[in-house]
């Protein structure tokens, strides 16, 4: 059984005894119900190894950001990182792809009951910009136009959090709380199935509708733990491969090729969805990839650090029915 400990205690301990040079966790953000990353450096000369900041560490339903993406910034340091269940899959993916050395990372596991989706909250309360909000144990109190509204936490979380089956980290050296209850049913990919049942024209309309809104800001790529390439195809300029105009064809090229790169690698962590300023429905297409890898090849991203990669591997009996 993984050791149970308190977040601040373990942070202080690991930074003090040299188990970690850097610790990546969350702190309260500047907006209500938001959290921001907190990076603590070990300073073994002072009395408080965490520089006093460790008291700012938090973990609750505000901590949506996937901190695993920040590991790329500390390539040769010993890093302690706090991961939720879904984030742990991103970490496993990076270990599998040899982007992260397991021996260099200490993992603080945070069992998670779901993180707050601001757009869900806005939909329920009918208010986009609450003047204040507080998070309580299993409800959110939102103040809109001097009126207080209470929303149960289970309704305010991201759609993917609701039926989540990886609430408890798959990989952790210690846990900061007792494991939480999680769904035992395999993911159904209901939205993918629903769209697949529709006509080709309806699928095209949906795709075009999403692509028309994309402004090619590349925030989805920037926040994605699996998008760590030093030079992305979208940035190649000699010759330029990916167009960057407002023509939806350019957005289609970027997203279809990015999806090709993410097959068997996207864990569905949702970092891209949260990053997108245009509300592009990236989740649907990511879920398509995950459903494809699972159904056609029995492959699941972020499940097994020892498994061979999905693309780059083959079987002589792979499906051939799509050829002429």
């Amino acid at each position: 059984m993984t050791e149970r400990t308190d977040l601040k205690t373990i942070a202080a301990e690991w930074l003090a005894d040299g188990k970690a040079d850097v610790l990546i966790g969350w702190q309260a953000g500047t907006l209500p119900l938001a959290a921001a990353p907190l990076i603590l450096h070990a300073d073994r000369s002072g009395a408080d190894p965490a520089g006093g900041n460790k008291d700012k560490l938090v973990f609750d339903a505000r901590c949506a950001m996937n901190l695993v993406n920040l590991l790329h910034k500390f390539k040769d340091k010993k890093v302690a990182v706090v991961v939720k269940g879904c984030d742990s899959r991103s970490l496993i993916g990076l270990i599998q792809e040899k982007q992260v050395d397991r021996d260099r990372i200490v993992v603080i596991g945070a069992p998670c009951a779901g993180v707050i989706d601001p757009s869900a909250l806005a939909r329920i309360t009918g208010c986009d910009a609450p003047s204040g909000a507080t998070l309580e144990k299993d409800q959110v109190r939102v103040v809109c136009d001097r009126e207080e509204k209470v929303v149960p936490l289970s309704e305010a979380v991201y759609p993917g959090c609701r039926g989540c089956s990886v609430r408890n980290p798959l990989l952790a050296d210690c846990l900061i709380a007792d494991p939480v209850e999680q769904s035992a049913a395999p993911e159904a990919f209901g939205d993918v199935e629903a769209l697949r049942q529709m006509s080709r024209d309806e699928r095209w309309r949906k795709f075009l509708h999403e692509m028309k809104r994309c402004i090619l800001c590349h925030a989805c790529r920037a926040m994605c733990p699996a998008c760590y390439c030093r030079e992305c195809f979208a940035d190649i300029t000699r010759p330029r491969l990916a167009g960057r105009t407002a023509d939806p064809a350019d957005a289609m090229f970027f997203h279809l090729l990015r999806l090709m790169h993410l097959a068997g690698r996207c864990t569905g962590c949702g970092a891209c969805v949260r990053a997108c300023p245009m509300g592009v429905d990236l989740r649907l297409y990511n879920d398509f990839l995950r459903a494809f890898a699972k159904k056609e090849y029995g492959f699941e991203a972020g499940a097994d650090a020892q498994a061979p990669p999905f693309i780059g591997e083959f079987d002589q009996n792979d499906p051939n029915d799509f050829t002429m």
Binding site: R200, R203, D250, L259, F310
Partner: protein, 147 residues
């Protein structure tokens, strides 16, 4: 959608593996099999060399269809190139389908150096499909229908 069909001739981009399908095209030629002249051939060393980016870029650049053809599974000159390619192409085919791209714009086939007749046949089928579909207005730049 088919406004300019009168003066429209389909443009089809074909990536052919030099060891098999390209040689198959040669054989079709020397055997004088007739096939439509709408195919622009790019010779590649192996179907495994075809980056999905080339296929998508071809569509964005205005090609009405893209075909990739390599050696039959098991016959790749580099042993496993087409096995690797097959998984990627399977994914791309299903992804384009999920995005609602018209069926038949992008196709994959295995044609050996000995299959001149089959080569001509596949080219005919491909051209027929594209003629039926009309111009590529889904992904070609400056052609995407907004409605």
């Amino acid at each position: 959608m088919k406004e300019n069909v009168a003066d429209w001739e389909p443009k089809i981009l074909a990536f052919l593996c030099t060891w098999c399908s390209y040689a198959g095209a040669d054989l079709a030629g020397v055997s004088r099999y007739q096939y439509p002249p709408n195919i622009r051939i790019v010779k590649v060393p192996c179907s495994g060399r075809v980056n999905p980016a080339y296929i998508l870029k071809g569509l964005c650049q205005g090609y009405d269809g893209v075909l990739v053809s390599g050696c039959h599974p098991g016959d790749c000159h580099y042993l496993t190139g087409n096995y690797h390619a097959r998984r990627k192409f399977h994914l791309l085919a299903r992804l384009l389908d999920f995005a609602g791209i018209e069926e038949g714009r992008v196709r994959f086939s295995w044609i050996s150096a000995a299959e001149g007749a089959r080569f001509a046949d596949v080219m005919k089928q491909m051209t027929d499909t594209i003629v039926k579909l009309g111009p590529n207005t889904q992904m070609a730049k400056a052609q995407v229908r907004y409605d």
